[in-house]
């Protein structure tokens, strides 16, 4: 068996990735054309609602004729007071995003590194805890948050930033997975052992060896966190706080055009941000040699 298999190996291996882009057609990979067709068809289907939404913002009330009035309205200082709740909500959401990222980096990340490097048995517990917010839907947690926040608000006040603790919990699965995925493919134990055997202290090993290797996972974890916080609606809705999403829904009842404009802009903005950072991340990353 082994000798029979050994002979053709050279034939199969030779054409593979000679120029980098040319791939042989074995295994799962579809041809470039097939792949492109599938992506274009589904991409077009997904674009339709976005196009319809954008088109909607250019329509005159009633007649449907083309107009720029709605876009002008949101930039008009004279009407700023109409949208003051919206702007306040956006501000609140941005503050929340910053606090939640701090929670993730200051609380979750150290626990994950500690589990990976020193207490491997805690892994299962940590993973279980971080996946609970998927198992227990936000809407269920909210039923518990309502009484808990009566206590929280009597201690910390009822400012919107206090929501960060609740949102931090529902962000856990999104924050955990990219970091853990990165840890899974990076042999951290070996790397830190190497660093330590070269004389690095634990803090130095973590700062100069572990964290740089987890850069990509951390980055996508933080980005996901930010996008989840900015898109968070359920908790703010139940606890009666004004955030971006709750403000949008309120505005939709009085001025659906401007609400839709904000939605289009927000969707495009977050999309552009994610594209920008993921492409920048991959350019910076040293090319891995697979040979």
């Amino acid at each position: 068996m082994t000798t029979a298999a050994a002979a053709p190996v050279a034939d199969v291996v030779r054409p593979r990735r000679s120029g980098g882009s040319r791939r042989s057609r074995v295994g799962a990979v579809p041809s470039k054309a097939t792949g492109a067709i599938v992506l274009v068809v589904i991409g077009v289907l997904f674009a339709i609602p976005l196009i319809a939404m954008t088109w909607f913002t250019f329509q005159t009330v009633g007649t449907g004729a083309f107009t720029l009035a709605h876009w002008a309205a949101i930039l008009d200082p004279a009407q700023a007071s109409t949208y003051s709740d919206l702007f306040a909500g956006i501000g609140n959401s941005l503050i929340l995003a910053v606090i939640v990222v701090v929670i993730i980096v200051a609380l979750l990340l150290p626990a994950m590194l500690l589990a990976e490097l020193r207490y491997p048995r805690v892994h299962r517990v940590l993973e279980f805890v971080c996946l609970i917010p998927i198992t227990v839907p936000t809407i269920v947690l909210v039923v518990g948050f309502v009484p808990v926040y009566q206590v929280v608000q009597s201690v910390l006040g009822s400012d919107p930033w206090t929501l960060a603790f609740a949102i931090g919990v529902i962000v856990l699965p999104y924050a955990y997975r990219p970091i853990q995925a990165n840890i899974g493919v990076t042999n951290l134990t070996t790397l830190t052992e190497a660093a330590r055997s070269l004389g690095a202290s634990w803090p130095v090993a973590v700062w100069r060896v572990v964290l740089p290797n987890l850069r990509r996972g951390l980055l996508s974890s933080c980005l996901l966190t930010v996008s989840v916080v900015l898109g968070e609606f359920t908790i703010a809705n139940f606890l009666g706080q004004n955030t971006f999403q709750t403000a949008l829904l309120l505005l939709q009842q009085t001025d659906p055009y401007v609400a839709t404009i904000c939605a289009v802009v927000a969707l495009l903005f977050v999309f552009a941000l994610l594209v920008l950072i993921s492409t920048a991340g991959s350019i910076r990353r040293p090319r891995r040699k697979k040979s």
């Binding site: 295994g27 799962a28 492109a36 997904f46 339709i48 936000t138 518990g144 899974g184 493919v185 991959s282």
Partner: protein, 313 residues
Amino acid sequence: MTTTVRKSPARTTTVRAGSERAVPRGAGGSPLRRRSVGWLGFAPFGVYVLLFLAIPGLVAIASGFFSADGAFTLANFATLGDATILSNFANSLWLSAVSALISAVLGVLVCWALTAAKPDGFVRAVVDSASSVFAQFGGVMLAFAWIATLGTGQLVPVIIKALTGVDINASGSILYSVTGLLFPYVYFGLPLMVLSFMPAMDGLRPQWGEAVATLGGTRLHYWLRVGVPVLAPAFFGSLILLFANAFSSYATAAALISQGGIIPLAIKQQLTSETIVGVANTAGVLALGMVVVMAVLMTLYSALERRTRRWQR
């Protein structure tokens, strides 16, 4: 801070290729000094999780067991016999199942198509980013998009009527019904499938394809003997994840439907006004019902996840 001499010299030779996956993870190989102090490192995270995850979770589930004046009771569970609540549960279940199935099948197709693109390339970056936006960020805003698409008098229903003669909004706008929720639910379900299934697809090593070809197998053989068996646990795991995500989703439905219809909306109704006579804390009972459904799903998911990971090492 003393340096630690590693026990096996064979290990150190693999350090240069540290990012490769060839070496099994050396669990328990790290120096364990001051063991008891190290555990304290988990304290901040532990306290946080206790205060904002364990307590709210327990409160939510336990509240169903107490009457309005705080006495223990099982009477609240009469809620589950209420016809409206039962139909809400049924709606939630079929909406989640159908949307998850459609999203999963189409999502696999997208993942497969994506393997033709370069892993670090622009196409992958665009699809990944778009998927994140739809799956995790959309919520209320996706509801707006669908109102502008399928709402009464909008372009798409008009075009469909012109082409086929069928008016999808004949009996009120389709979007404001539970069936209509299928559109936005697939719209955020499919991207979630791409996000959760793509790592499994990437885990298919080119070497496996070469091995099959070397042994004289066709691509059909490859799919039947390697691809499908390896990907199946990941597929069903992702499918369960999609179901759970749809089942617990609230924002999109809340932006479209103001009355009840699915369980998350019913919980909101019950929290703001107790509508079932003689039953207290209905929201707590409904929350418990959701938890039971999710617990069953997640048990399945973790079993499948364990099988998947075997191939991703």
